[in-house]
Amino acid sequence: MAPDLRALTVLSQHHVPFVVIGGHAVNAHGVLRATEDTDVVWLRSRESEGNLLRALVAIDAHYIGNEIDPATGIERTYPVTEAFVRASRLMMLCTSVGFLDLFDYVPGFPHESARTIWESAMEIDGLPEMPPVSMALSS
């Protein structure tokens, strides 16, 4: 069995600089548990915004509005756009590969540079179809 890291693979393929936090990182560091989504801190720049948008389009990423769709009984979703990526410091998305949360800051430390999390991250290689992935413990 291989871990399902398709969301991370797509980010890597599109050269988005990121560190994994949340459940995946907690597991990688030794605390085994299930998780419902993939949490990522990414480094924002004009170039990475474009790369991220292309990655999100590739996995059919949508953000979730607050209007209920009568057909499904749950909230309507909307495809991510360039304006959305530029304006949102936190994107909580549903994608074709599961829920994906993207932070351009370290949760709990919104005023610190996202780069600080790279210092506490450990690199994991040997993952299928992707370069080494950095995983950090975060709040």
Binding site: P3, N66, E67, I74
Partner: protein, 112 residues
């Protein structure tokens, strides 16, 4: 106005042969200092060895093996959800509700 001499309804129900019971039929239960309380009844002592064993198991694996183990847990959870359509619907509803943003406004600049 009711008969002031008539016993209250609760007492009437407890009457035996038309007479109230000599002793109260029940007493209010009250905690005293020497009784155990919910705070004393904890699973914590039993959970610690389990947590230690799980932690040791996790640390004995490589990071990649831990992610494989995580995937096994996720797959098991999904299998349970697939067997329970109401549970799956609740899962999706809860996640969508937690992740929604006002769709009539610009996306939040500082997160939700």
């Amino acid at each position: 106005m009711g008969d002031p001499q008539r016993p209250p309804a609760r007492t009437r129900r407890l009457m035996v042969a038309g007479k109230p019971p000599a002793e109260p039929a029940f007493t209010l239960f009250a905690y005293t200092a020497d009784m155990s309380t919910d705070a004393d009844i904890s699973a914590e002592p039993n959970l610690r060895p389990r947590d230690r064993a799980l932690r040791a198991h996790g640390l004995a694996l490589s990071p990649r093996e831990r992610l494989v183990e995580m995937q096994r847990l996720i797959d098991e959870a999904w299998a349970l959800l697939e067997k329970n359509p109401a549970g799956k619907a609740h899962f999706l509803k809860r996640n969508f509700k937690a992740r929604r943003i006002p769709s009539t406004q610009e996306p939040p600049a500082n997160g939700t």
